[in-house]
Protein backbone atom coordinates (compact mmCIF):
# COMPACT_ATOMS: atom_id res chain seq x y z
CA UNK A 1 0.00 0.00 0.00
CA UNK A 2 1.17 3.54 -0.61
CA UNK A 3 1.83 5.09 2.72
CA UNK A 4 0.49 8.57 3.29
CA UNK A 5 3.34 10.97 4.08
CA UNK A 6 3.14 11.82 7.78
CA UNK A 7 3.91 15.45 7.04
CA UNK A 8 0.58 15.79 5.26
CA UNK A 9 -1.15 14.49 8.38
CA UNK A 10 0.87 16.92 10.49
CA UNK A 11 -0.27 19.80 8.31
CA UNK A 12 -3.85 18.70 8.82
CA UNK A 13 -3.17 18.54 12.54
CA UNK A 14 -1.82 22.10 12.49
CA UNK A 15 -4.94 23.26 10.75
CA UNK A 16 -7.22 21.49 13.23
CA UNK A 17 -5.16 22.80 16.15
CA UNK A 18 -5.46 26.42 15.05
CA UNK A 19 -9.14 25.97 14.34
CA UNK A 20 -9.58 24.68 17.89
CA UNK A 21 -7.55 27.57 19.23
CA UNK A 22 -9.69 30.06 17.35
CA UNK A 23 -12.75 28.34 18.73
CA UNK A 24 -11.59 28.63 22.32
CA UNK A 25 -10.83 32.29 21.88
CA UNK A 26 -13.92 33.25 19.94
CA UNK A 27 -16.79 31.31 21.52
CA UNK A 28 -18.49 32.47 24.67
CA UNK A 29 -20.57 29.39 25.28
CA UNK A 30 -18.80 27.02 27.63
CA UNK A 31 -19.94 23.93 25.77
CA UNK A 32 -18.42 25.24 22.59
CA UNK A 33 -15.21 26.10 24.35
CA UNK A 34 -15.00 22.55 25.66
CA UNK A 35 -15.57 21.23 22.18
CA UNK A 36 -12.83 23.44 20.82
CA UNK A 37 -10.50 22.12 23.49
CA UNK A 38 -11.33 18.60 22.34
CA UNK A 39 -10.41 19.60 18.82
CA UNK A 40 -7.03 20.84 19.98
CA UNK A 41 -6.37 17.67 21.94
CA UNK A 42 -7.42 15.58 19.01
CA UNK A 43 -5.00 17.46 16.81
CA UNK A 44 -2.19 16.65 19.21
CA UNK A 45 -3.25 13.01 19.11
CA UNK A 46 -3.12 13.12 15.34
CA UNK A 47 0.47 14.36 15.44
CA UNK A 48 1.36 11.53 17.80
CA UNK A 49 -0.09 8.94 15.48
CA UNK A 50 1.55 10.52 12.46
CA UNK A 51 4.88 10.63 14.23
CA UNK A 52 4.49 7.01 15.25
CA UNK A 53 3.92 6.18 11.61
CA UNK A 54 6.94 8.18 10.60
CA UNK A 55 9.18 6.21 12.95
CA UNK A 56 7.35 2.94 12.58
CA UNK A 57 6.90 2.79 16.34
CA UNK A 58 3.90 1.90 18.45
CA UNK A 59 4.81 4.66 20.96
CA UNK A 60 2.83 7.15 18.90
CA UNK A 61 -0.34 5.18 19.34
CA UNK A 62 0.34 4.63 23.02
CA UNK A 63 0.62 8.36 23.44
CA UNK A 64 -2.57 8.74 21.46
CA UNK A 65 -4.26 6.52 24.03
CA UNK A 66 -2.83 8.72 26.73
CA UNK A 67 -4.31 11.76 24.98
CA UNK A 68 -7.60 9.94 24.73
CA UNK A 69 -7.61 9.20 28.45
CA UNK A 70 -6.79 12.77 29.14
CA UNK A 71 -9.56 14.03 26.89
CA UNK A 72 -12.03 11.71 28.57
CA UNK A 73 -10.98 12.96 32.00
CA UNK A 74 -11.21 16.57 30.95
CA UNK A 75 -14.60 16.13 29.35
CA UNK A 76 -15.91 14.39 32.42
CA UNK A 77 -14.84 17.02 34.90
CA UNK A 78 -15.52 19.84 32.43
CA UNK A 79 -19.07 18.77 31.80
CA UNK A 80 -19.67 18.22 35.50
CA UNK A 81 -18.54 21.76 36.17
CA UNK A 82 -20.57 23.15 33.30
CA UNK A 83 -23.66 21.42 34.59
CA UNK A 84 -23.00 22.85 38.00
CA UNK A 85 -22.62 26.35 36.56
CA UNK A 86 -25.77 25.92 34.52
CA UNK A 87 -27.69 24.93 37.63
CA UNK A 88 -26.19 27.58 39.85
CA UNK A 89 -25.87 30.60 37.58
CA UNK A 90 -28.29 29.66 34.80
CA UNK A 91 -25.87 30.82 32.14
CA UNK A 92 -23.18 29.28 29.99
CA UNK A 93 -21.58 32.59 29.11
CA UNK A 94 -17.85 32.41 29.82
CA UNK A 95 -17.62 36.19 29.92
CA UNK A 96 -20.19 36.36 32.69
CA UNK A 97 -17.75 34.72 35.03
CA UNK A 98 -15.52 37.70 35.64
CA UNK A 99 -16.10 38.65 39.23
CA UNK A 100 -12.58 37.67 40.17
CA UNK A 101 -10.32 40.30 38.70
CA UNK A 102 -7.90 43.15 39.35
Amino acid sequence: MTAVPPEAAVLLACLLFTLGLAGVLARRNLVFILMALEIMLNAAGLVFVAAGARWGQADGQVLFIVVLTLAAAEVAVGLALVLRIHRQAATLDADAASRLRG
Binding site: L34, G45, F48, V66, A73, V77, R99, G102
Partner: protein, 474 residues
Protein backbone atom coordinates in the same frame (compact mmCIF):
# COMPACT_ATOMS: atom_id res chain seq x y z
CA UNK B 1 10.80 -4.96 37.60
CA UNK B 2 13.33 -6.05 40.13
CA UNK B 3 13.16 -5.84 43.89
CA UNK B 4 15.36 -2.76 43.75
CA UNK B 5 12.91 -1.12 41.39
CA UNK B 6 10.10 -1.83 43.80
CA UNK B 7 12.08 -0.43 46.72
CA UNK B 8 12.77 2.71 44.73
CA UNK B 9 9.09 2.97 43.93
CA UNK B 10 8.10 2.40 47.54
CA UNK B 11 6.89 5.98 48.21
CA UNK B 12 4.71 5.71 45.10
CA UNK B 13 3.47 2.29 46.08
CA UNK B 14 2.52 3.50 49.54
CA UNK B 15 0.55 6.30 47.96
CA UNK B 16 -0.92 3.80 45.54
CA UNK B 17 -2.24 1.81 48.50
CA UNK B 18 -3.37 4.89 50.39
CA UNK B 19 -5.48 6.18 47.48
CA UNK B 20 -7.89 3.21 47.31
CA UNK B 21 -8.06 3.09 51.09
CA UNK B 22 -9.07 6.75 51.24
CA UNK B 23 -11.43 6.20 48.33
CA UNK B 24 -13.21 3.52 50.32
CA UNK B 25 -13.42 5.72 53.37
CA UNK B 26 -14.78 8.52 51.21
CA UNK B 27 -17.25 6.22 49.53
CA UNK B 28 -18.66 5.30 52.93
CA UNK B 29 -18.88 8.99 53.85
CA UNK B 30 -16.33 8.91 56.62
CA UNK B 31 -14.51 12.24 56.28
CA UNK B 32 -12.55 11.92 59.50
CA UNK B 33 -11.37 8.44 58.59
CA UNK B 34 -10.52 9.58 55.07
CA UNK B 35 -8.47 12.48 56.41
CA UNK B 36 -6.65 10.27 58.92
CA UNK B 37 -5.89 7.65 56.29
CA UNK B 38 -4.67 10.32 53.89
CA UNK B 39 -2.42 11.80 56.56
CA UNK B 40 -1.16 8.36 57.48
CA UNK B 41 -0.48 7.58 53.84
CA UNK B 42 1.51 10.77 53.37
CA UNK B 43 3.53 10.10 56.50
CA UNK B 44 4.24 6.51 55.50
CA UNK B 45 5.15 7.56 51.98
CA UNK B 46 7.49 10.13 53.48
CA UNK B 47 9.04 7.44 55.65
CA UNK B 48 9.40 5.22 52.58
CA UNK B 49 11.77 7.80 51.11
CA UNK B 50 14.57 6.43 53.27
CA UNK B 51 14.58 2.85 51.99
CA UNK B 52 14.12 4.25 48.50
CA UNK B 53 17.10 6.55 48.96
CA UNK B 54 19.25 3.47 49.53
CA UNK B 55 18.79 2.09 46.03
CA UNK B 56 18.81 5.20 43.87
CA UNK B 57 19.55 6.45 41.26
CA UNK B 58 17.58 3.98 39.25
CA UNK B 59 15.61 4.11 36.04
CA UNK B 60 12.33 2.34 36.76
CA UNK B 61 10.86 1.40 33.40
CA UNK B 62 11.50 4.03 30.73
CA UNK B 63 9.00 6.31 32.41
CA UNK B 64 10.32 7.20 35.84
CA UNK B 65 13.76 8.20 36.99
CA UNK B 66 13.92 7.67 40.73
CA UNK B 67 16.99 9.50 41.92
CA UNK B 68 17.91 11.65 44.89
CA UNK B 69 16.49 14.64 43.09
CA UNK B 70 13.11 13.00 42.54
CA UNK B 71 13.01 11.79 46.14
CA UNK B 72 13.92 15.23 47.46
CA UNK B 73 11.00 16.77 45.63
CA UNK B 74 8.74 13.88 46.54
CA UNK B 75 9.60 14.60 50.16
CA UNK B 76 8.87 18.28 49.69
CA UNK B 77 5.51 17.53 48.04
CA UNK B 78 4.55 15.04 50.72
CA UNK B 79 5.44 17.38 53.55
CA UNK B 80 3.51 20.19 51.90
CA UNK B 81 0.55 17.91 51.31
CA UNK B 82 0.52 16.86 54.92
CA UNK B 83 0.60 20.51 55.98
CA UNK B 84 -2.34 21.31 53.69
CA UNK B 85 -4.23 18.24 54.92
CA UNK B 86 -3.88 19.38 58.51
CA UNK B 87 -4.69 22.99 57.69
CA UNK B 88 -7.85 21.89 55.87
CA UNK B 89 -9.15 20.01 58.90
CA UNK B 90 -10.09 23.09 60.87
CA UNK B 91 -10.90 25.03 57.75
CA UNK B 92 -13.52 22.65 56.38
CA UNK B 93 -15.09 22.13 59.74
CA UNK B 94 -18.67 23.43 59.69
CA UNK B 95 -18.63 24.30 56.02
CA UNK B 96 -21.68 23.09 54.12
CA UNK B 97 -19.96 20.95 51.49
CA UNK B 98 -19.21 17.27 52.13
CA UNK B 99 -15.67 16.89 53.34
CA UNK B 100 -14.67 13.37 52.47
CA UNK B 101 -13.52 13.97 48.89
CA UNK B 102 -11.14 16.72 49.95
CA UNK B 103 -8.46 14.46 51.43
CA UNK B 104 -8.77 12.06 48.53
CA UNK B 105 -8.30 14.79 45.95
CA UNK B 106 -5.31 16.16 47.85
CA UNK B 107 -3.77 12.73 47.90
CA UNK B 108 -4.38 12.19 44.18
CA UNK B 109 -2.94 15.59 43.36
CA UNK B 110 0.13 14.84 45.47
CA UNK B 111 0.54 11.55 43.66
CA UNK B 112 0.41 13.33 40.32
CA UNK B 113 2.94 15.88 41.54
CA UNK B 114 5.33 13.15 42.68
CA UNK B 115 5.02 11.41 39.34
CA UNK B 116 5.75 14.67 37.53
CA UNK B 117 8.86 15.35 39.62
CA UNK B 118 10.17 11.86 38.93
CA UNK B 119 9.37 11.79 35.21
CA UNK B 120 12.05 11.63 32.62
CA UNK B 121 9.61 10.61 29.95
CA UNK B 122 6.83 12.66 28.44
CA UNK B 123 4.16 10.01 28.88
CA UNK B 124 4.50 9.94 32.65
CA UNK B 125 4.85 13.71 32.68
CA UNK B 126 1.56 14.21 30.85
CA UNK B 127 -0.30 11.69 32.96
CA UNK B 128 1.07 12.96 36.24
CA UNK B 129 0.40 16.55 35.26
CA UNK B 130 -3.14 15.79 34.24
CA UNK B 131 -3.86 13.83 37.42
CA UNK B 132 -2.62 16.85 39.31
CA UNK B 133 -4.71 19.27 37.26
CA UNK B 134 -7.92 17.28 37.40
CA UNK B 135 -7.67 16.75 41.13
CA UNK B 136 -6.82 20.42 41.59
CA UNK B 137 -9.89 21.40 39.63
CA UNK B 138 -11.98 19.45 42.07
CA UNK B 139 -10.26 21.17 44.97
CA UNK B 140 -10.55 24.65 43.51
CA UNK B 141 -14.27 24.36 42.87
CA UNK B 142 -14.77 22.36 46.03
CA UNK B 143 -16.98 24.69 48.04
CA UNK B 144 -20.70 24.44 47.59
CA UNK B 145 -23.16 27.26 47.28
CA UNK B 146 -20.75 30.04 46.47
CA UNK B 147 -19.93 31.63 43.15
CA UNK B 148 -16.26 32.39 43.44
CA UNK B 149 -14.97 28.82 43.67
CA UNK B 150 -17.05 27.88 40.65
CA UNK B 151 -15.72 30.79 38.65
CA UNK B 152 -12.16 29.97 39.64
CA UNK B 153 -12.74 26.34 38.71
CA UNK B 154 -14.13 27.34 35.35
CA UNK B 155 -11.12 29.47 34.59
CA UNK B 156 -8.76 26.76 35.66
CA UNK B 157 -10.62 24.16 33.61
CA UNK B 158 -10.53 26.10 30.39
CA UNK B 159 -7.09 27.60 30.69
CA UNK B 160 -5.43 24.46 31.98
CA UNK B 161 -7.04 22.48 29.17
CA UNK B 162 -5.93 25.09 26.69
CA UNK B 163 -2.36 25.07 27.89
CA UNK B 164 -2.33 21.29 28.15
CA UNK B 165 -3.31 21.12 24.51
CA UNK B 166 -0.48 23.46 23.57
CA UNK B 167 1.95 21.43 25.66
CA UNK B 168 0.76 18.18 24.12
CA UNK B 169 1.08 19.58 20.64
CA UNK B 170 4.62 20.64 21.42
CA UNK B 171 5.46 17.22 22.81
CA UNK B 172 3.96 15.55 19.78
CA UNK B 173 6.08 17.72 17.48
CA UNK B 174 9.12 16.86 19.56
CA UNK B 175 8.33 13.19 19.12
CA UNK B 176 7.75 13.70 15.42
CA UNK B 177 11.20 15.18 15.09
CA UNK B 178 13.18 12.95 17.48
CA UNK B 179 11.44 9.60 17.43
CA UNK B 180 11.65 9.28 21.18
CA UNK B 181 9.69 10.49 24.15
CA UNK B 182 12.23 9.99 26.86
CA UNK B 183 14.34 12.99 27.76
CA UNK B 184 17.52 11.04 27.18
CA UNK B 185 16.30 9.79 23.81
CA UNK B 186 15.41 13.30 22.73
CA UNK B 187 18.78 14.61 23.83
CA UNK B 188 20.45 11.77 21.96
CA UNK B 189 18.51 12.43 18.76
CA UNK B 190 19.23 16.12 18.95
CA UNK B 191 22.86 15.52 19.66
CA UNK B 192 23.06 13.47 16.50
CA UNK B 193 21.02 15.64 14.19
CA UNK B 194 21.45 19.09 15.64
CA UNK B 195 18.78 21.68 16.15
CA UNK B 196 16.41 23.00 13.51
CA UNK B 197 13.34 25.26 13.36
CA UNK B 198 10.94 22.42 14.07
CA UNK B 199 12.77 21.68 17.33
CA UNK B 200 12.69 25.33 18.32
CA UNK B 201 8.97 25.37 17.64
CA UNK B 202 8.39 22.25 19.70
CA UNK B 203 10.45 23.52 22.61
CA UNK B 204 8.70 26.89 22.47
CA UNK B 205 5.31 25.18 22.72
CA UNK B 206 6.56 23.07 25.64
CA UNK B 207 7.84 26.18 27.40
CA UNK B 208 4.48 27.87 26.84
CA UNK B 209 2.65 24.88 28.30
CA UNK B 210 4.91 24.68 31.33
CA UNK B 211 4.82 28.46 31.64
CA UNK B 212 1.10 28.23 32.28
CA UNK B 213 1.48 25.78 35.12
CA UNK B 214 4.21 27.94 36.67
CA UNK B 215 2.09 31.04 35.98
CA UNK B 216 4.92 32.80 34.18
CA UNK B 217 4.15 36.03 32.36
CA UNK B 218 2.27 36.19 29.96
CA UNK B 219 0.65 32.88 30.88
CA UNK B 220 0.03 34.04 34.43
CA UNK B 221 -3.36 35.69 34.38
CA UNK B 222 -5.31 32.77 35.79
CA UNK B 223 -3.29 32.56 38.97
CA UNK B 224 -4.71 35.43 41.05
CA UNK B 225 -8.30 34.62 40.13
CA UNK B 226 -7.88 30.97 40.97
CA UNK B 227 -6.05 31.66 44.22
CA UNK B 228 -8.77 34.06 45.23
CA UNK B 229 -11.57 31.72 44.32
CA UNK B 230 -10.06 28.61 45.84
CA UNK B 231 -9.95 28.08 49.58
CA UNK B 232 -6.79 29.33 51.29
CA UNK B 233 -5.27 25.88 51.95
CA UNK B 234 -5.91 24.82 48.38
CA UNK B 235 -4.37 28.04 47.09
CA UNK B 236 -1.30 27.22 49.14
CA UNK B 237 -1.33 23.74 47.67
CA UNK B 238 -1.43 25.08 44.11
CA UNK B 239 1.31 27.54 44.82
CA UNK B 240 3.60 24.98 46.40
CA UNK B 241 2.85 21.46 45.21
CA UNK B 242 1.55 22.02 41.71
CA UNK B 243 4.08 24.67 40.80
CA UNK B 244 6.91 22.97 42.64
CA UNK B 245 6.45 19.67 40.85
CA UNK B 246 6.28 21.28 37.44
CA UNK B 247 9.33 23.36 38.24
CA UNK B 248 11.25 20.25 39.25
CA UNK B 249 10.27 18.75 35.91
CA UNK B 250 11.33 21.87 34.04
CA UNK B 251 14.70 21.77 35.75
CA UNK B 252 15.18 18.12 34.85
CA UNK B 253 14.08 18.76 31.29
CA UNK B 254 16.50 21.67 31.00
CA UNK B 255 19.23 19.51 32.52
CA UNK B 256 18.68 16.52 30.22
CA UNK B 257 17.82 18.27 26.97
CA UNK B 258 18.95 21.49 25.26
CA UNK B 259 15.64 23.15 26.15
CA UNK B 260 17.27 26.04 28.00
CA UNK B 261 20.31 26.55 25.85
CA UNK B 262 20.73 28.76 22.83
CA UNK B 263 17.45 30.35 21.70
CA UNK B 264 15.63 28.61 24.56
CA UNK B 265 17.75 30.56 27.02
CA UNK B 266 16.80 33.83 25.35
CA UNK B 267 13.14 32.93 25.63
CA UNK B 268 13.45 31.88 29.27
CA UNK B 269 15.38 34.97 30.18
CA UNK B 270 12.79 37.19 28.50
CA UNK B 271 10.05 35.34 30.38
CA UNK B 272 11.99 35.64 33.63
CA UNK B 273 12.40 39.41 33.30
CA UNK B 274 8.76 39.88 32.34
CA UNK B 275 7.58 37.59 35.13
CA UNK B 276 9.61 39.26 37.86
CA UNK B 277 8.65 42.77 36.87
CA UNK B 278 5.00 42.14 36.09
CA UNK B 279 4.49 39.91 39.12
CA UNK B 280 5.90 42.46 41.51
CA UNK B 281 4.20 45.42 39.87
CA UNK B 282 0.86 43.66 39.96
CA UNK B 283 1.27 42.98 43.65
CA UNK B 284 2.30 46.56 44.38
CA UNK B 285 -1.00 48.10 45.45
CA UNK B 286 -3.14 44.97 45.57
CA UNK B 287 -5.87 45.10 48.21
CA UNK B 288 -6.69 41.43 48.30
CA UNK B 289 -4.20 39.43 50.31
CA UNK B 290 -4.71 36.19 48.42
CA UNK B 291 -4.24 37.93 45.10
CA UNK B 292 -1.20 39.68 46.50
CA UNK B 293 0.29 36.33 47.42
CA UNK B 294 -0.58 35.02 43.97
CA UNK B 295 1.31 37.86 42.31
CA UNK B 296 4.15 37.43 44.73
CA UNK B 297 4.24 33.75 43.85
CA UNK B 298 4.41 34.68 40.17
CA UNK B 299 7.39 36.89 40.91
CA UNK B 300 9.09 34.14 42.93
CA UNK B 301 8.92 31.75 40.01
CA UNK B 302 10.49 34.48 37.93
CA UNK B 303 13.40 34.48 40.37
CA UNK B 304 13.52 30.72 40.17
CA UNK B 305 13.96 30.85 36.41
CA UNK B 306 17.44 32.19 37.09
CA UNK B 307 18.29 28.77 38.44
CA UNK B 308 17.04 27.19 35.22
CA UNK B 309 19.16 29.62 33.22
CA UNK B 310 22.22 28.97 35.34
CA UNK B 311 21.72 25.24 34.97
CA UNK B 312 24.20 22.68 36.17
CA UNK B 313 24.75 21.71 39.75
CA UNK B 314 24.68 25.31 40.96
CA UNK B 315 21.29 25.97 39.41
CA UNK B 316 19.80 22.72 40.65
CA UNK B 317 21.01 23.35 44.19
CA UNK B 318 19.75 26.90 44.19
CA UNK B 319 16.36 25.80 42.89
CA UNK B 320 16.06 22.95 45.36
CA UNK B 321 16.76 25.22 48.31
CA UNK B 322 14.61 28.02 46.95
CA UNK B 323 11.65 25.72 46.47
CA UNK B 324 11.96 24.42 50.02
CA UNK B 325 12.10 27.96 51.36
CA UNK B 326 9.27 29.02 49.10
CA UNK B 327 7.17 26.08 50.25
CA UNK B 328 7.66 26.99 53.90
CA UNK B 329 6.91 30.67 53.57
CA UNK B 330 4.02 30.32 51.13
CA UNK B 331 2.33 27.59 53.15
CA UNK B 332 2.92 29.73 56.22
CA UNK B 333 1.26 32.76 54.69
CA UNK B 334 -1.70 30.80 53.35
CA UNK B 335 -1.82 28.91 56.60
CA UNK B 336 -2.41 32.15 58.47
CA UNK B 337 -5.26 33.03 56.12
CA UNK B 338 -6.63 29.53 56.66
CA UNK B 339 -6.52 29.85 60.42
CA UNK B 340 -8.16 33.25 60.27
CA UNK B 341 -10.89 32.04 57.97
CA UNK B 342 -11.51 28.74 59.69
CA UNK B 343 -14.89 28.25 61.27
CA UNK B 344 -16.81 30.65 59.09
CA UNK B 345 -18.95 29.77 56.15
CA UNK B 346 -18.41 32.44 53.50
CA UNK B 347 -15.40 33.65 51.58
CA UNK B 348 -12.01 33.76 53.23
CA UNK B 349 -10.65 36.69 55.22
CA UNK B 350 -8.66 38.11 52.37
CA UNK B 351 -9.27 41.83 52.09
CA UNK B 352 -6.18 43.63 53.36
CA UNK B 353 -8.39 45.96 55.35
CA UNK B 354 -9.34 42.98 57.49
CA UNK B 355 -5.69 42.64 58.50
CA UNK B 356 -5.50 46.11 60.04
CA UNK B 357 -4.40 45.82 63.63
CA UNK B 358 -4.10 42.05 63.44
CA UNK B 359 -1.07 42.22 65.72
CA UNK B 360 -3.26 43.36 68.54
CA UNK B 361 -6.17 41.05 67.88
CA UNK B 362 -4.36 37.82 67.02
CA UNK B 363 -0.75 38.40 68.05
CA UNK B 364 0.48 34.86 67.43
CA UNK B 365 -0.93 34.58 63.96
CA UNK B 366 0.29 38.07 63.16
CA UNK B 367 3.78 37.21 64.38
CA UNK B 368 3.88 34.15 62.14
CA UNK B 369 2.65 36.17 59.21
CA UNK B 370 5.24 38.87 59.81
CA UNK B 371 7.98 36.25 59.76
CA UNK B 372 6.63 34.69 56.60
CA UNK B 373 6.41 38.07 54.89
CA UNK B 374 9.94 38.92 55.98
CA UNK B 375 11.06 35.66 54.48
CA UNK B 376 9.16 36.30 51.25
CA UNK B 377 10.84 39.68 51.08
CA UNK B 378 14.20 37.96 51.51
CA UNK B 379 15.19 39.32 54.90
CA UNK B 380 18.31 37.83 56.47
CA UNK B 381 18.01 35.13 59.14
CA UNK B 382 15.03 33.61 57.38
CA UNK B 383 15.10 31.00 54.65
CA UNK B 384 14.00 33.57 52.12
CA UNK B 385 17.26 35.48 52.33
CA UNK B 386 19.51 32.55 51.66
CA UNK B 387 17.21 31.27 48.94
CA UNK B 388 17.36 34.54 47.08
CA UNK B 389 21.08 34.75 47.62
CA UNK B 390 21.74 31.34 46.09
CA UNK B 391 19.58 32.11 43.08
CA UNK B 392 21.24 35.49 42.67
CA UNK B 393 24.68 33.89 42.88
CA UNK B 394 23.67 31.31 40.30
CA UNK B 395 22.46 34.08 37.99
CA UNK B 396 25.62 36.13 38.45
CA UNK B 397 27.73 33.05 37.95
CA UNK B 398 26.15 32.43 34.58
CA UNK B 399 26.21 36.11 33.62
CA UNK B 400 22.46 36.44 33.11
CA UNK B 401 22.55 40.16 33.73
CA UNK B 402 19.08 41.24 32.54
CA UNK B 403 17.48 38.62 34.76
CA UNK B 404 19.78 39.50 37.66
CA UNK B 405 18.90 43.17 37.26
CA UNK B 406 15.22 42.29 37.22
CA UNK B 407 15.67 40.22 40.38
CA UNK B 408 17.23 43.14 42.20
CA UNK B 409 14.60 45.59 40.99
CA UNK B 410 11.85 43.12 41.77
CA UNK B 411 13.15 42.56 45.28
CA UNK B 412 13.01 46.29 45.95
CA UNK B 413 9.42 46.50 44.76
CA UNK B 414 8.64 43.36 46.72
CA UNK B 415 9.94 44.91 49.90
CA UNK B 416 7.38 47.65 49.51
CA UNK B 417 4.28 45.51 49.35
CA UNK B 418 5.36 42.98 51.95
CA UNK B 419 6.19 45.74 54.40
CA UNK B 420 2.94 47.43 53.50
CA UNK B 421 1.05 44.44 54.81
CA UNK B 422 3.17 44.34 57.95
CA UNK B 423 2.63 48.04 58.57
CA UNK B 424 -1.08 47.50 58.15
CA UNK B 425 -1.06 44.71 60.70
CA UNK B 426 0.72 46.94 63.18
CA UNK B 427 -1.62 49.86 62.57
CA UNK B 428 -4.30 50.89 64.97
CA UNK B 429 -4.49 51.02 68.72
CA UNK B 430 -3.59 48.09 70.88
CA UNK B 431 -6.76 46.32 71.87
CA UNK B 432 -7.46 43.35 74.02
CA UNK B 433 -6.66 40.18 72.11
CA UNK B 434 -9.82 38.40 70.98
CA UNK B 435 -9.92 34.87 72.29
CA UNK B 436 -10.76 32.56 69.43
CA UNK B 437 -10.87 28.79 69.42
CA UNK B 438 -7.46 27.52 68.42
CA UNK B 439 -7.50 25.01 65.56
CA UNK B 440 -4.76 22.81 66.85
CA UNK B 441 -3.86 20.97 63.67
CA UNK B 442 -3.39 24.25 61.84
CA UNK B 443 -1.59 25.85 64.76
CA UNK B 444 0.78 22.90 64.87
CA UNK B 445 1.49 23.28 61.16
CA UNK B 446 2.17 26.98 61.53
CA UNK B 447 4.45 26.41 64.51
CA UNK B 448 6.43 23.81 62.60
CA UNK B 449 6.68 26.02 59.53
CA UNK B 450 7.87 28.95 61.62
CA UNK B 451 10.43 26.80 63.36
CA UNK B 452 11.76 25.45 60.09
CA UNK B 453 11.81 28.93 58.57
CA UNK B 454 13.97 30.34 61.32
CA UNK B 455 16.06 27.26 61.91
CA UNK B 456 17.00 26.70 58.28
CA UNK B 457 17.36 30.42 57.80
CA UNK B 458 19.98 30.65 60.51
CA UNK B 459 21.61 27.34 59.66
CA UNK B 460 20.91 26.39 56.07
CA UNK B 461 23.91 24.09 56.02
CA UNK B 462 22.09 20.81 56.88
CA UNK B 463 19.52 21.29 54.15
CA UNK B 464 22.25 22.34 51.73
CA UNK B 465 24.16 19.16 52.53
CA UNK B 466 21.05 17.10 51.88
CA UNK B 467 20.50 18.89 48.58
CA UNK B 468 24.12 18.37 47.55
CA UNK B 469 23.68 14.66 48.02
CA UNK B 470 20.43 14.65 46.11
CA UNK B 471 21.19 17.01 43.32
CA UNK B 472 20.83 16.35 39.62
CA UNK B 473 23.62 14.54 37.86
CA UNK B 474 25.27 13.86 41.20
Amino acid sequence: MTGGDLTALLPFLVMGVAVPAVTLAAAFRRPALAASLAALGTVLAFAALWPAAGVVPRQVTPLLMIDGYALYFAGLMLAATLAVLLLSLGYLHRRPEPREAHSLLLLLAAFGAMAVAASDHFASFILGLETLSVALLGLIAYAHGRERPIEAGLKYLILAGFSSAILLFGIALLYLRCGSLSFAGIAFALGRAGSDPAILLAFALVIAGIGFKLSLVPFHMWAPDVYQGASAPVAGFIAVVSKGAVFALLLRLAHDTPLASGPGATVIQAIAVATILAGNLLALLQDNFKRLLAYSSIAHFGYLLLAVLAGGVLGAEAAAYYLAAYAVMTLGAFGVITQLSAGQAGDDIEQLSAYRGLMWRRPWLAAVLVLMLFALAGMPLTMGFFAKLTVLMAGIHGGWWPAVGALVAGSVIGLFYYLRVIALMAAGRPVEAVPEPTRWAGALVLAMLTGVLVWLGMAPAPLMALIRRATLGG
